[in-house]
Subunit: 127 residues, 4 copies
């Protein structure tokens, strides 16, 4: 019976943080708390929860729901998180978060840095 | 435009292979082909495809659909993969694969090995 | 030339955060900042830096070196991080951090929770 | 004592397979066996073993050392793996494997595909 429990723990899976993000979130203007909130979002997405509420986020974090809401608002404002329309399998329309803007900002930052270091042409950077 | 493409690539995510599995699949009686098939299953699950067909698996693998079907059959027989009932959000009943048996066999193997090495008591191993 | 840069980005690898840790760090008494510091440590270890300095940590984080030092001190005190002797390949003796205590506290917490929920016996929990 | 063992298992870490690689290795001309060999290499690198021998690889795989050697030879020939000079911390010179060529081939393939689909300009593809 205990082995079953241990198997369950091993089966829970992981969230992957690309080192590119870990090494550059600071330059993108993100705090550690915001980075972790983004990891929780990713974890929720993988479990099929596409629009986690501030209360759901707060349950996992050390900050109260009101502050989670404020953090999400700031991430939307900074253009790190987006909201898209979403129709679930029953045809019910709703919203979902997307982290695509985060990846775009990260790539933008990497190109700008590589152009500054002379590793790619200015023109490529500006495309 | 190109940056958008690069951001998409970075955003595609990853499948995580615990080193415990990578170091022990051989002892569990799995081949490299079967290990990769299990990774494809996990990847499908994360995209919401809970019961990938042999054709869907074969599209990503170097083996034809008939052999993928045979591989899945063998994994079911060896007790590495299970099939569970599944009701989707529209209430349609179907089946889904589960990798829980794989994790249970892995834990079973780890306990047996630790007991043999005298690291845990025989009794704990037999629980 | 640009493709080479993109390949480098893809090659940088990732840090893996087990969902067990992501879902329970709060109950272990860790803040979001401390969780991210632990991820940076793990990232340094993989690059062969076994005893990152507060300055090295601070370079990646939004907190100054003095506060990083304070965070590490607190993590050592809470028994989440340990320090071990380390002899490098040239025979020079030094110290290295280990995250083993973190995993032990996590497992301890999981057992305690499972015992409370009646999923494993009290005796197993106390072992 | 048993908890200590479980903590060790959880602490063993993971190897990360980007979905880009999982979805495209077939098009790069890699077999499932070769993909798994590359994962073992990555796992060895993270443990500080920069030039694993065929015997070390074979110990983890279902194929004998002679075939592992043959697989590595083929990967070198196909330009998926490279060999670089390496000086360890004691100043001893030796060789190490690098997976950079794999990532470059993957990026090359992704650009070619995107150009074919009209998502990026031909010129960008040819850079």
């Amino acid at each position: 019976m205990e082995k079953k429990k241990v198997a369950e723990w091993l089966a829970q899976g992981s969230v992957v943080v690309p080192k590119l993000l870990l090494n550059h979130y600071k330059r993108l203007g993100l705090s550690e708390g915001e980075l972790v909130l983004l990891l929780h979002m990713q974890s929720f997405f993988e479990e099929g929860v596409v629009f986690p509420t501030p209360a759901e986020l707060a349950e996992k974090m050390t900050v109260p729901a009101a502050e989670c809401m404020e953090m999400v608002r700031r991430l939307l404002q900074k253009g790190m998180v987006g909201i898209e329309e979403h129709t679930d399998e029953r045809g019910v329309r709703g919203e979902k978060y997307t982290l695509e803007p985060l990846w775009e900002q990260l790539v933008h930052h990497l190109y700008a840095q590589a152009a500054k270091d002379g590793q790619i042409g200015q023109q490529e950077e500006e495309e």
